[in-house]
């Protein structure tokens, strides 16, 4: 049952997925293109600085790509079923949980393709690069972070897309409502309570979102292929 479900998702997204695999493979290569120590020259401190700076500049694209892959996979997982009003899956001899898990598993399996592309690209990009002393390449670490980020965004989008448009609007609305409440509520309460002058609820909210064990922690931190 898993294999046909995998085939179904693959059939739906194969063209886009091929592009995403190419992008995942090419991004680490682009990140180091033209870098490294020219033959015959010592890897000096200026060269090291240039490498780290370039790597950090490109680093922003990795989580963006991971998010794009996760979102596209998550949205596409339910797309056909939404179009057909879910009648077909509901008529199959599966519990709703089984169907959902099969679908989820198929998407995660497909997500491995760009991850493998990233892993190969990252290793190729750093294999022929002579790094100055003190700098290291992190192809495996970057790939693992890339995998987690894809799975996080895929899971998020898969869960949201599983419901009706009404449910998705409700979830998004709640999130926006929380942000607005944090923004407006803090200023309002600061007029009455000193605590809200000293502590910014907005900052606390976003810190909670992006720092461990916050849900968005996976996209923060170092995404550099080359770092100290």
């Amino acid at each position: 049952m898993y294999q046909p479900m995998l085939f179904l998702h693959w059939k739906q997204i194969r063209m886009v997925l091929a592009l995403l695999v190419v992008a995942s493979f090419g991004l680490p290569l682009l990140a180091v293109e033209g870098l490294g120590t020219p033959p015959g020259l010592d890897a000096g401190s200026l060269e090291a600085y240039r490498l780290v700076l370039a790597s950090q500049t490109w680093a922003v694209f990795f989580p963006v790509l991971a998010a794009a892959i996760g979102i596209i996979l998550g949205l596409s997982a339910w797309n056909w079923d939404h179009q057909l009003n879910h009648i077909y899956p509901l008529s199959l001899p599966l519990t709703r949980w089984e169907y959902t898990m099969l679908k989820m598993g198929a998407g995660v399996t497909l997500a491995l393709l760009p991850v493998v592309g990233m892993w190969i690209g990252a290793h190729l990009a750093t294999a022929f690069l002579t790094l100055p002393a003190g700098l290291n390449a992190y192809p495996n670490e970057l790939t693992i972070r890339f995998l987690f980020a894809i799975v996080f965004f895929y899971g998020l989008m898969f869960a949201m897309a599983a419901g009706t448009i009404k449910t998705t609007i409700w979830v998004m609305g709640t999130f926006v409502g929380l942000v607005l409440f944090a923004l407006l509520g803090n200023d309002l309460l600061a007029n009455y309570y000193d605590f809200f002058v000293r502590v910014n609820v907005v900052d606390l909210f976003f810190e909670w979102m992006v720092e461990a064990p916050g849900p968005f922690q996976v996209i923060t931190g170092s995404w550099s292929l080359i770092d100290v």
Partner: protein, 303 residues
């Protein structure tokens, strides 16, 4: 288990304008049950309720002796379902869809599926999105029959199909039923189609089950009777009086449409001083129309 499908006092409300009210329905095992009703009467909703796709507000449902929705997984493994509108993935080819579908059914009959594909002139390489309505209908029948189901649930399976395709589809269904003693639940508003193949009939109108009986009884028991000097208030009638109307320009002659008619009932009219002038057999469609007319509130049909 005497009934393949059993609904007991099922109600389900969609909105102020539509609800299923107190539906009690029994589909005997091995029968071909025709579920008749005009468009919008609630046929598809009833099917979705016993297929476990929706939960009733109240009442009980069992299919193949198991409770719905609790035991849906084993139930659906034994049910072949053809919905009102095609539910298969348009981007797949016929062969891909058949392979996908087969992986969920332990009793899938590959040989029968291949045979049906040839018999129904389906091309395994053809993309579903490029198929005509008739071809898609045939594919849905193939999928449902190749599961070797104990119960076939067909929701308007031939609606919009041309006569040739319709004949192919019905013949495939009847062949299957003659080979395996499966129960068939077939909903339609095409009365003549059901008349030929069904042995039980249920009539739904405005969310209510207005009749349920063996087809033979339904076909034979509905008559149009022309009566002279009919009593103003008929008492103790041995049949169900569906409607009565004054014949134009004939003074004392009325036309009665009755259900449950049998020849000895003619004596009733002698007893009340009336005379039977004529007894006309109604075909199923006329009977169906009269039944609906009689079941609806008087102000809606003006009679």
């Amino acid at each position: 288990m005497n009934n393949a499908i059993e609904l007991t006092h099922v109600t389900w409300k969609a909105s102020k304008s539509f609800e299923l009210r107190d539906i009690s329905l029994r589909v005997p095992v091995g029968s071909i049950y025709g579920f008749l009703g005009p468009n919008g009467s609630g046929k598809t909703t009833t099917i979705r309720l016993f297929m476990g796709m929706m939960k009733p507000d109240s009442g009980g449902i069992s299919v193949l002796g198991r409770p719905v929705p609790r035991d849906m997984k084993p139930i659906l493994a034994r049910v072949g379902y053809v919905p009102e509108r095609p539910h298969v993935y348009p981007a797949l080819t016929v062969g891909e869809q058949v392979k996908f579908h087969s992986s969920f059914y332990k009793l899938w009959d590959k040989g029968w599926a291949t045979e049906l594909m040839g018999r129904l002139h389906l091309d395994p390489g053809q993309k579903i999105s490029r198929m005509s309505k008739g071809e898609t209908g045939k594919l849905l029948i193939l999928l449902a029959l190749s599961q070797r189901p104990d119960l076939l649930v067909l929701d308007e399976p031939t609606d919009g199909l041309d006569p040739v395709v319709r004949r192919d589809v019905l013949s495939a269904i009847l062949d299957y039923v003659s080979e395996v003693s499966a129960t068939v639940f077939i909903s339609s508003h095409l009365v003549h189609e059901l008349e030929r193949i069904c042995d039980w009939v249920g009539v739904l109108d405005g969310g209510r089950l207005v009749a349920e009986m063996p087809m033979q009884q339904f076909k034979n028991g509905i008559k149009r009777i022309r009566v002279a000097d009919a009593p103003e208030v008929p008492d103790n009638v041995p049949f169900t009086l569906l409607s009565r109307s004054q014949d134009n320009g004939t003074g004392s002659i009325e036309t009665w449409v009755v259900r449950g008619w049998e020849p000895p009932m003619r004596h009733y009219f002698d007893g009340v001083g009336a005379t039977v002038r004529d007894i006309i057999d109604l075909d199923l469609e006329e009977g169906f129309v009269e039944l609906l007319r009689s079941s609806r509130p008087q102000h809606t049909n003006g009679s």
